[in-house]
């Protein structure tokens, strides 16, 4: 299986590569459009600020390529947020894959949310053998509200989407690569899609 982690200079991609390595898979880090197109599975990471990350995607033409991919694609954290229509962070237009606007936490909670919270209302093969209320690791200031593409949700002052799915596209707000054994299982589920 050819797994490509999109390397566009935004985020902690080593950790994703290592998590896959622990599962017995070797992933390629690349921003080469052909490598990405020819992959069986594509992982789209992202950590940092939305508008600068989007700027980096545009420089390499990835903003046009990613929405056209046909194989399973997993956006992680900011990667997931950039797959949405828009994000309030830096007033940034996203890739428009998920029909939802990302907004900032504003419900009397500390921002950013940092730590382990629970995912529930799980309904996707991505969460096969993952139990309701499993703990995952999150670190973020902006969130996706509940929409029809929601496949997992979490409470932090408000109920919001911790995972989204549409067609061949998946996104998790949490970091599966940092979410202990449950996170590794979710990554394995993605590879088995």
């Amino acid at each position: 299986m050819k797994i490509v982690i999109i390397n566009y200079g935004a985020g902690n991609i080593q950790s994703i590569k290592f998590a896959l390595q622990r599962l017995g898979y070797n992933a390629l880090l690349s921003n080469d459009l052909e490598e990405i197109r020819s992959a069986d599975k594509v992982i789209f990471p992202g950590v940092g600020e939305a508008s600068s990350a989007m700027g980096k995607l545009k420089i390499s033409g990835l903003d046009n390529i990613i929405p056209q991919l046909k194989q399973p694609v997993l956006g992680i954290c900011l990667g997931m947020q950039l797959m949405c229509t828009h994000t309030e962070e830096g007033n940034t237009k996203g890739l428009g894959i998920f029909d939802v606007d990302i907004i900032r936490f504003n419900h009397g909670v500390k921002v950013p949310q940092i730590g382990w919270n629970q995912i529930n209302m799980l309904h996707s093969p991505l969460f096969q053998k993952i139990k309701e209320n499993e703990y995952v690791y999150l670190v973020h200031s902006y969130y996706a509200p509940i929409v029809k593409e929601t496949i997992a949700q979490t409470h932090y002052g408000v109920e919001y989407s911790t995972a989204l799915h549409k067609g061949n596209f998946y996104g998790t707000q949490f970091h599966p690569e940092k979410s202990s054994i449950a996170g590794e299982k979710i990554l394995e589920n993605f590879l088995n899609l």
Binding site: F18, R22, K110, I114, Q118, Y137, K178
Partner: protein, 251 residues
């Protein structure tokens, strides 16, 4: 529900753990990677590595250690100690650190916080503050608490938040090493004036101290070293008792 985090802290010198560690199950208790894996399995929510080496090669040694930890450990970890530039942070994050912690360099050059948050995002910038009480004022200290500054803890913490820190690691020098509990009054006041998470550090001796710092101190996370390294407190048992006190934990 967002859970309270339990964070073991490992002091590192030249790529090895320094404080005596009493982990019988380990082949090499001085190997930070083995220790990190053991803590991850024991239920730690996060790890902090504090580098105290002062050699020429420290940067390279630390980057190499970070890479080895990232390879093996499936929970987040923070790296601190001697970080003073965008380049320092870039190397650590590229090698797999999730967050970095800055301390003295932020006091000397507060704009560094803005620069780091702008480049890497607030979520990976922890600002560590060491403070002790002098004549009823909490005074920020440098060099592991040896050198007093003119900064007041609460003013400095607010400034740090405004400049873009994602989290504050507050160590009370009065409590550190005493095993008599965390500085809960100051922590509680910090929690009231800030809207970013606060990690309590300094003073852990018993399980009750953790209960108190989450309830009275309203800390979001608690960091400790020797009580974990010497197995005076087992993380699983600690979390069970926290849960009995209706404190949300990952168990």
């Amino acid at each position: 529900m967002l859970t309270k985090r339990i964070i073991p802290c490992l002091d590192i010198k030249n790529g090895r753990t320094v404080k005596g560690v009493n982990f019988v199950a380990l082949r090499d208790a001085g190997d930070p990677v083995e220790l990190a894996e053991a803590y991850s399995k024991a239920g730690a929510d996060e790890l902090v590595f504090l580098d105290i080496s002062a050699t020429e090669e420290r940067r390279k040694t630390l980057a190499n250690l970070v890479l080895r930890v990232a390879e093996k450990v499936n929970i987040p970890f923070t790296v601190g100690g001697g970080i003073s530039s965008i380049e320092d942070v870039d190397i650590l994050l590229q090698n797999g650190a999730d967050k970095v912690s800055i301390n003295s360099s932020a006091v000397k050059n507060p704009k560094l916080i803005n620069d780091l948050a702008g480049k890497f995002g607030s979520q990976c910038i922890t600002v560590a503050i060491d403070a002790k009480r002098i004549a009823d004022k909490w005074v920020v200290h440098l060099v592991g608490g040896k050198v007093p500054t003119e900064l007041n803890l609460f003013d400095w913490a607010r400034e740090v938040e405004k400049r873009g820190a994602g989290e504050i690691l507050f160590t009370s020098m009065d409590n550190d090493g005493t095993k008599e509990g965390f500085a809960n009054k100051a922590l509680n006041r910090l929690s009231k004036v800030l809207n970013i998470p606060i990690i309590a550090s300094g003073g852990a001796g018993t399980i009750q101290h953790f209960v108190d710092t989450f309830k009275e101190g309203e800390a979001d996370a608690a960091l400790a070293a020797s009580v974990f390294h010497f197995k005076e407190i087992e993380i699983k048992e600690l979390k069970r008792q926290l849960r009995d006190h209706e404190i949300p934990v990952r168990l």
